[in-house]
Amino acid sequence: MTVTADTPQQIAADEPTASRRFLDRVLKLRALAVLAVLLVMLAATQIYNSEFLSQQGVKDLLLNATILVLVAVGQAMVVITRNVDLSVGSVLGISAFAAGTYLHGGGNPLLAVLIAVGLGVLFGLLNGLLVSLGQVPALVVTLGTLYIIRGIDSIWVGSRQITANDLPASFVDFGHDGLSVIPYLALLTLAVLVAAGYYLRSYRGGRDLYALGSSPEAARLAGVPVRKRILTAYVVCGALAGLAGALYLARFGNVDSGTGNGYELTVVSAVVVGGVAFTGGSGTVYGAALGALLLTSINSVLPSIGVSSVWVLAIDGVLLLLAIAVDRIVALRVAGVLRKRAAQMRSAHHA
C-alpha cells in the first residue's frame, strides 16, 4: 500500500535543515488542503445560494458535523494505534437508546449523558480487551462486536422507539440551542477535540499511541505498555461513541433499533479523508475532525444548491475520491520538487 521509494519524508531526509522547514510547511499544508477544499466549497455554495451561510445555515452546518466529529475523534485515536473500531455505529445506537429509555418520562439529562458514555466505555472496554489481550485482528473482532451489539440492541429495543415526546424539553432544546450561531453541541465537541488533540501531542500516553501504531514490535521492545494503551484508545473511542449517542438523541429526538446502522463506514471515511493512515502511527484528530466536517458539509451543500438527490450519492463518492487523490498528488509533486532541490544543492556543494 505504500510507495516506498517516493515518500516525501524520505526525500526530505536528504538535506536536513532546508528541507526540514519545507517539510513542516507541507505537513501543515496537508490539513490545510482539506480545510481549503472545505472553505472553497462553502464559499461557492454561498455565492450560489445566499441562504446557505445564514445564521440558521451555519448553525445547521455545525450541528450536522458534531456527532460525526465526536465519533471520528475516537476512531482516529484507535486507528493511530493501527487498529480499528467498526462497532462505533452499534455502540452509538445502543447508548442513545439507553439514554432515551432513562429519560423516558423524566430523568436527569446530565445523568442520561453519563449513562450513554458509561455504556460506551463498557463496550470500548470489551473491544479493547478482546483486541489487546487476545492480540487478534481488530477488524475481525470489531466487525464481530458490531454484529453482536447491533443484535443485542435490536433484541432489547424491539420495535420500541424513543420520540421527542418522551424526552424532557430541556434536553431536546439542548440539542439545537446555542450561544448565538454556535450550538452547545458544537462547543462540547470542540472541547473534546482540543482535549484529545492536546493529549495526543503533549502527553507520553498520547505519544505512545503513535509509537505503537508505527511499529508494535518496536513498542514492545521499548517497554511501551502496549495493552494498556490500546485499551485506553478503545475506551476513549467507546466513550465518545456513547457521548455521540446521547447527542444524537438530543439532536434528532428519535431513536429506534436501527439508529447508527452503517455509521462505521461514514466514520472510517471521515478519518481517512482527514489523513489518518490506516497503517497506524500518523495523522491527527484535527485532521479527522476536518474530514468529518467536510463529509457532513457535502451532504448539506448538495441539497441546498438543489442537486437532485439522485445525484448525491455519486457526487459524494467522487468528491471523496478527489479529496484523497488531490492530497496524494500534491504530496507526490512536493516530493519530486524536494528531490530536485536536494540534487541542485548537492551539485552546488560539489562544485
Binding site: N49, E51, F52, S54, Q55, Q56, G57, D60, N64, S154, V157, G158, S159, R160, Q161, T163, A164, N165, V172, D173, G175, H176, D177, F252, G253, N254, D256, S257, G258, T259, N261, N299, S300, L302, P303, S304, I305, G306, S309, V310
Partner: protein
C-alpha cells in the same frame, strides 16, 4: 438476433387467480399464517402485524412473524419466503420490498399450496393472490395535497420529502399529488421539488435543511413517509422555520404527538396499521379456506370490520385514512 425485451413478452408466468371459490366454505381453523413485513422491529409493522395476530387469534389460527432487520435487504426477504415454503405454512402475508424480486419465490410458494397476501406494499399482481391496500393510493395522494393547501391558504411553494426513490407506493402517491395539483384551485400552489431522504433520519434531516435553504419562500412540505415526516418535524421544531413552514404527510400519532402539541405540525394523516394487518389475516384465512380465490368481485368477511369486496387486480382497500390534529391526537395510541 438475440433475446430482447420485445421478443420475450410472455414473461412472468405466475399462477393466475382462478375463479373457483366456494363463498360458503367453512372457515378453517388451526392454520398458520406467517407475516413477513418489510422490516421487523419497525414500529409501524409491529402494530400492523400485531393487528394480524389478533385477528388470527380470533379465528383460531396461529400467527408467526419473520423478516429482515433491514428494510432494503431484498435477498433476505427472498430467503425468508423460501424458508416459509420449506416450513409449509398455510399462508404468507408479505409487505414486499421489491415488486419483482419476490416473484420467483412467491410463485414457488404458491405452487406448494401456500396462499400469498401482500399488504402495505404490493408485488406484481401475478405473484400473489391478493393485495390488501391501506387506502387507495388516489385518496392518500389527493388528501395530503388538500391538507397542506388548506394550511398554507392555497398559496405558495411546496415540496415533497419522500423515502427512497424506488419506493413503489410513495411514487404512486406522488403521482396522484401532482395530478391533484392540476386542479385550478391550486393555481397559486407550486410544487418546486421532490427530495428523497431514504427513510433515514439524518438524511431526511439534511434534505429538509436543503429544501429550506434552496427555496427560502417555501411554505409547506409533504412527507408521505413516517420517517421523513418525523425528521422534518424535528428539524423544523429546532429551527427558525418552526410554525412558519407547514408540514404534513403520513405519520404515526405517537411519533408526531410532541410536534402537534408544540405547534410545529397542524395536521397529518394515516390509516390504522393494526386494521391493515387484521384485514390481511382475514383475507389470508379466507383464501386458505377456499372462500375466495382472489378474483375481482368476490367478497369475504373480516370480523367486526365488516365485509370487503375484491377490486380490480385482486386489490382490497382498507378504507379512508384518519386525519390527526391537536384535537383528536390523544385518542390514538400507536
Amino acid at each position: 438476433g438475440g433475446t430482447t425485451k420485445n421478443s420475450s413478452k410472455d414473461s412472468g408466468g405466475g399462477a393466475k387467480a382462478t375463479a373457483s371459490a366456494d363463498p360458503n366454505a367453512a372457515t378453517k381453523k388451526g392454520l398458520t399464517v406467517a407475516f413477513l413485513p418489510k422490516q421487523v422491529n419497525n414500529p409501524y409493522f409491529t402494530i400492523a402485524d400485531g393487528g394480524g395476530k389478533q385477528a388470527l387469534d380470533a379465528l383460531g389460527s396461529s400467527y408467526k412473524e419473520v423478516g429482515t432487520s433491514s428494510g432494503t435487504d431484498t435477498a433476505g426477504q427472498v430467503s425468508y419466503v423460501n424458508t416459509l415454503t420449506q416450513q409449509q405454512v398455510d399462508a404468507i402475508a408479505v409487505s414486499a420490498q421489491d415488486p419483482g424480486a419476490l416473484c420467483t419465490s412467491l410463485n414457488q410458494a404458491r405452487k406448494n399450496g401456500i396462499k400469498v397476501v401482500t399488504y402495505d406494499s404490493d408485488t406484481k399482481p401475478e405473484c400473489r393472490d391478493l393485495f390488501v391496500s391501506q387506502a387507495s393510493s388516489e385518496d392518500l395522494g389527493r388528501t395530503e395535497v388538500q391538507l397542506l393547501a388548506e394550511q398554507i391558504g392555497y398559496k405558495g411553494e411546496i415540496a415533497i420529502l419522500s423515502a427512497a426513490q424506488t419506493a413503489t407506493n410513495q411514487n404512486t402517491w406522488i403521482d396522484f399529488m401532482k395530478d391533484e395539483l392540476k386542479d385550478p384551485k391550486y393555481k397559486d400552489v407550486k410544487l418546486v421539488k421532490v427530495a428523497y431522504g431514504n427513510d433515514d433520519a439524518q438524511q431526511s434531516f439534511q434534505q429538509t435543511q436543503g429544501l429550506l435553504q434552496q427555496y427560502p419562500n417555501l411554505k409547506g412540505i409533504i412527507s408521505p413517509t413516517t420517517v421523513g415526516i418525523k425528521a422534518a418535524a424535528q428539524y423544523l421544531a429546532g429551527s427558525k422555520y418552526k410554525g412558519k413552514v407547514k408540514l404534513t404527510g403520513l405519520g404515526t400519532p405517537n411519533d408526531m404527538r410532541a410536534y402537534v402539541k408544540n405547534g410545529t405540525v397542524d395536521a397529518f394523516e394515516l390509516w390504522d396499521p393494526a386494521k391493515l394487518g387484521s384485514l390481511a389475516s382475514y383475507a389470508a384465512v379466507a383464501l386458505a379456506s377456499g372462500q375466495i380465490s382472489g378474483a375481482e368481485g368476490q367478497s369475504f368477511k373480516a370480523g367486526d370490520m365488516g365485509s370487503y369486496t375484491i377490486g380490480k387486480d385482486g386489490v382490497v382497500v382498507l378504507g379512508k385514512p384518519t386525519v390527526f390534529t391537536k384535537d383528536n391526537i390523544d385518542q390514538f395510541k400507536f
